[in-house]
C-alpha cells in the first residue's frame, strides 16, 4: 500500500492511532446497546432474577478478571520495553499477554460448560440470554484481541517495531485495554451486583 510518507497528520496524532480511537468509540456504543438492554430486561424481571452468587462461580471469574488485568499490565510493560529499544522485553510482554488472554478464554469456556451442564443456556431463561450474550460478545472481543496480539507478536519477532515506531503495538494495546475495561464493567454488573 502506497501510504503517505508520514502517518502523523494535522492533529499531531498518528492516523492509525486515531482510527483505533474512533473504532473504540463505536465499540462503546455497541456495548452500551447491549448493556442498556440488559439493565431494562433485568429491571423487568427483578423477582425471578437469580442472585449472581447463587448461579455463578464468582471466585473463579474473579480470578479470571485478575488475569485480564494482569494481561493489560504485561502489555504496558512490553510496550515500554519496546519503546526503550529492548526488543526481548517487548516480545516477552506480548507473549505473556497472549498467554493470559488465552487463559482467560479457557477459563470462560470452562465456566460456560459448567453452566450449560447445570441447565443454564442462552435460551433457557431471560437471565441466560442476557448472561451469554453479554459475556459471549466480550469473549469474542478477547478472541479477536488474542489473534491481533499474535499477529503483532510475529511482527515483533521479525523486528518490525523500533523505538521510534511501535505504533502497531500501541494500537493493539488501546484495543486490549478497552476490552479489559469493558470486562471490569461487565464483571461488576453481571457478577457482583
Amino acid at each position: 500500500m502506497e501510504q503517505v510518507e508520514s502517518h502523523i497528520g494535522q492533529m499531531g496524532v498518528d492516523s492509525r492511532k486515531l482510527g483505533v480511537w474512533l473504532f473504540l468509540a463505536s465499540e462503546i456504543m455497541f456495548f452500551t446497546g447491549l448493556i442498556g438492554a440488559y439493565i431494562v430486561l433485568r429491571f423487568a424481571h427483578l423477582q425471578e432474577w437469580p442472585h449472581p452468587g447463587a448461579v455463578l462461580n464468582i471466585p473463579l471469574t474473579g480470578f479470571n478478571t485478575f488475569l485480564l488485568i494482569c494481561s493489560s499490565a504485561t502489555l504496558v510493560l512490553g510496550l515500554a520495553a519496546g519503546q526503550r529499544g529492548y526488543r526481548e522485553g517487548l516480545q516477552v510482554g506480548l507473549f505473556l499477554t497472549i498467554l493470559l488472554g488465552s487463559l482467560f478464554l479457557l477459563i470462560q469456556m470452562k465456566e460456560y460448560s459448567i453452566l450449560i451442564h447445570e441447565g443454564l443456556t442462552i435460551s433457557s431463561s431471560m437471565y441466560g440470554s442476557c448472561f451469554f450474550t453479554l459475556t459471549g460478545f466480550h469473549g469474542a472481543h478477547v478472541l479477536v484481541g488474542v489473534i491481533w496480539l499474535i499477529v503483532v507478536f510475529i511482527r515483533s519477532m521479525q523486528g518490525k517495531y523500533t523505538p521510534e515506531d511501535s505504533m502497531g503495538v500501541e494500537c493493539v494495546g488501546l484495543y486490549w485495554h478497552f476490552v479489559d475495561l469493558v470486562w471490569i464493567i461487565l464483571f461488576t454488573i453481571v457478577y457482583l451486583i
Binding site: 503517505v4 494535522q10 474512533l22 463505536s26 456495548f31 446497546g33 442498556g36 430486561l41 450474550t133
Partner: protein
C-alpha cells in the same frame, strides 16, 4: 503522479481498487442501480394501491405463484414489496450514495489529500456494501419470501417471520459494518490529512457535512447492530429479548431501533445539505451566507438528533411527560434547520444565478426540504401525531425529506461532480428535462399523500377499497400511481444522459464551473494521487465576486 502508478492491472484498478475515486464511482454506479431497483419495487406496490385486485398487465404473468396469482398481487408479496422498497432505498441507495459515493470521491479532493487515510479499509467498506444488498434481496428467492415486516422490523412479527427476515437482519448488520468502516475513514482523513492551510473553518460545507455525518454514523450505527444481533438471536438461538411470551420487551426494540434510525435521517440529509451549499454558492457566484452559522447548525442538528428518537413512539403508551420532552426537543430542530434554509436563500439573494441542472436540483432541495420540514412539525406534536400516526401523512413527509431532500441533493451532486469524475459534462438540456419532469412528477406523487393521510388512509394497507371511509379517496390513489410512473420513467432520462455522456459528453478542463474548492484544481479526472503537487490553501472555499478582482472567483489554492 508517477508513471509506475498507472501500470496497475485491470483488476486492481477497477475492481479491487483502493483509490478513493474509483471506490466512490463504484459506490455511485451501484447505488444508482439500487435506486432504480427500489423505484421499481415502489411502482409494483403502487399498482396494487391504485387498482387493487386487478391483474397487472404484462408483468403480472412474469411473477411466480408465490408472489402473484393470475397477475394479482398476493398480500404477502405486497408486504415484502413495501419493506424492501424502504430497505433498498435507505440502506442501499441513499445512505451509500450520499456518504459512500460523494464522500469518497469528494472529501479527499476537497481537503487536498492524495487519498483516504486507510485505502484498504475503504475498499473493504465497498466489499461489505454490495454483498449486503444481495443478501437482503435474495430474500425474494427463498420460500418464505423477502422480509415483510416494514423497514422498522418491529417485533414480535419480525422475530417470528420467515427466512427472508433473517437474511434482512444479516444484511443490515453487514451494511452497518460497511458504514462504520467508512465513518472511521472519513473522520481520520478529515482530521489528519488536510492540505497545508486547510484549517477546519476553511473546509467546504460538503466536507463538514460528511464529517458530522460520520460522527453520527460512528455513534448510532453500533446501537442498531446490537439490536439487530439480539433480534437475530431471538430468531435463531431461542432467546426472547423482544418477545413478550418469554418475558422480553417489545418496546426495547423500538427504543434501540429509533436511537439509530432517527439520527439516520440526518445521515441521509446532512450530506445533501453540504452538497447543496457548495452548489448554491458556486452558481450564485456569492459566498455562502453565514458560513460559521451553517457549520454550527449542522452540529446542532446532529446533537439534537440523538435526543429525539421517542417522537416515533408517541403511540407506544409512553408517559405523556416523556412524550412532551421528545416533542419539544424535536421541535427545537426547526431552529438550526431554519438557519440553514435562510442562509441558502441569503446566498442566492442578489446573486448572479446560473441555472445549471445542478443548481436547479439544489434549489429544489431547499424548497422541498422546507415542505418536508413543515410537515415534520405536525408529526412532532404529540396531539396531532396521535391522529396522523401511521397514515399516508408520514409517507408523504418522509418522501419530501428523502426524495425531495436527499435525492434532489444527490442529483445536484451528480450533475456538479460528473465532469470531475469523468472529464465530461452531462448533457444540460437532457438534465433540465430530467429535472423538470422529476420535480413535477415528484410533487404530484407525494403531495396528495398528505391529503390521503388526513383522510385517514393507513400506511401499510394492501387494499384501500376494503375500507368504506377510504373509497371516496381512491381517485387520489390512482393519480398518485400515475404520477409515480411518470416519476419512475423520468429517471430513465438521467440513466440515458449518464451513459451517453460517459462516452460522448462535452469534454471539460479542470474547472468547468469556475469554482473555488480544491477538487477543481486537480485534473479532470484526477490521476492517482489526485494533485500534481500538494496544494496549499490560502483562503476559505466561497470567495466569489470579490470586489476589485477581475474574475468572479478565487480558488482556495491560488496564492494571490
Amino acid at each position: 503522479m508517477s508513471e509506475s502508478h498507472q501500470k496497475q492491472s485491470f483488476l486492481r484498478k477497477y475492481i479491487f481498487s483502493v483509490d478513493h475515486k474509483t471506490i466512490g464511482i463504484q459506490f455511485l454506479f451501484t447505488t444508482l442501480f439500487f435506486f432504480l431497483v427500489g423505484g421499481a419495487l415502489a411502482l409494483l406496490l403502487r399498482w396494487q394501491l391504485a387498482y387493487p385486485g386487478k391483474p397487472m398487465p404484462v408483468l403480472g404473468q412474469v411473477f411466480p405463484e408465490s408472489m402473484m396469482v393470475g397477475g394479482i398481487m398476493l398480500p404477502e408479496f405486497y408486504n415484502a414489496l413495501f419493506t424492501m422498497h424502504a430497505s433498498v432505498m435507505i440502506f442501499f441507495a441513499i445512505i451509500p450514495l450520499l456518504v459512500g459515493a460523494f464522500g469518497n470521491f469528494v472529501v479527499p479532493l476537497q481537503i487536498g489529500a492524495p487519498d483516504m487515510a486507510f485505502p484498504r479499509l475503504n475498499m473493504l467498506s465497498y466489499w461489505f456494501f454490495w454483498p449486503s444488498a444481495i443478501v437482503a434481496l435474495s430474500g425474494f428467492f427463498v420460500q418464505s419470501g423477502a422480509a415483510a415486516t416494514g423497514w422498522t422490523a418491529y417485533p414480535p412479527l419480525s422475530a417470528i417471520e420467515g427466512t427472508g427476515q433473517t437474511l434482512w437482519v444479516v444484511a443490515v448488520i453487514m451494511v452497518g459494518a460497511s458504514s462504520l468502516m467508512g465513518a472511521i475513514n472519513y473522520l481520520t482523513t478529515i482530521l489528519n490529512m488536510r492540505a497545508p492551510g486547510m484549517g477546519l473553518f476553511r473546509m467546504p460545507m460538503t466536507v463538514w457535512a460528511i464529517f458530522i455525518t460520520s460522527v453520527i454514523t460512528l455513534l448510532a450505527t453500533p446501537v442498531l447492530t446490537s439490536a439487530m444481533i439480539m433480534l437475530l438471536f431471538d430468531r435463531t438461538m431461542g432467546t426472547h429479548f423482544f418477545l413478550s411470551e418469554g418475558g422480553g420487551h417489545v418496546l426495547l426494540w423500538q427504543h434501540l431501533f429509533w436511537f439509530y434510525s432517527h439520527p439516520a435521517v440526518y445521515i441521509m440529509i446532512l450530506p445533501g445539505m453540504g452538497i447543496v451549499s457548495d452548489v448554491i454558492s458556486t452558481f450564485s457566484r456569492k459566498p455562502i451566507f453565514g458560513y460559521h452559522a451553517m457549520v454550527y447548525a449542522i452540529m446542532g442538528i446532529a446533537f439534537l438528533g440523538f435526543i429525539v428518537w421517542g417522537h416515533h413512539m408517541f403511540q407506544s403508551g409512553m408517559n405523556p411527560t416523556v412524550g412532551t420532552t421528545f416533542m419539544l426537543s424535536t421541535m427545537l430542530i426547526a431552529v438550526p434547520s431554519a438557519i440553514k434554509t435562510f442562509n441558502w436563500l441569503g446566498t442566492m439573494w442578489r446573486g448572479t444565478l446560473r441555472f445549471t441542472s445542478a443548481m436547479l436540483n439544489a434549489i429544489a432541495f431547499v424548497s422541498m426540504f422546507v415542505i418536508g420540514g413543515l410537515s415534520g412539525i405536525f408529526m412532532a406534536s404529540t396531539a396531532v401525531d396521535m391522529y396522523f400516526h401511521d397514515t399516508y401523512f408520514i409517507v408523504g413527509h418522509i418522501h419530501y425529506v428523502l426524495f425531495g431532500g436527499s435525492m434532489f441533493a444527490a442529483f445536484a451532486g451528480v450533475y456538479y461532480w460528473f465532469p470531475k469524475m469523468f472529464g465530461r459534462k452531462l448533457n444540460e438540456p437532457l438534465g433540465k428535462i430530467h429535472f423538470a419532469l422529476t420535480f413535477i412528477a415528484f410533487n404530484c406523487t407525494f403531495f396528495p399523500m398528505h391529503i390521503l393521510g388526513i383522510g385517514g388512509h393507513m400506511r401499510r394497507i394492501y387494499d384501500p377499497m376494503q375500507y368504506t371511509h377510504l373509497q371516496h379517496l381512491q381517485p387520489i390513489n390512482v393519480f398518485i400511481t400515475l404520477s409515480a410512473f411518470v416519476l419512475g420513467v423520468s429517471q430513465l432520462i438521467l440513466l440515458v444522459n449518464f451513459v451517453k455522456s460517459l462516452k460522448w459528453g462535452e469534454k471539460v478542463g479542470k474547472n468547468p464551473w469556475e469554482s473555488n474548492t480544491l477538487e477543481w484544481q486537480a485534473p479532470s479526472p484526477p490521476g492517482h494521487g489526485n494533485f500534481e503537487t500538494t496544494p496549499t490553501v490560502y483562503r476559505g472555499p466561497y470567495e466569489y465576486s470579490e470586489p476589485g478582482r477581475s474574475s468572479d472567483f478565487h480558488p482556495q489554492s491560488e496564492a494571490a
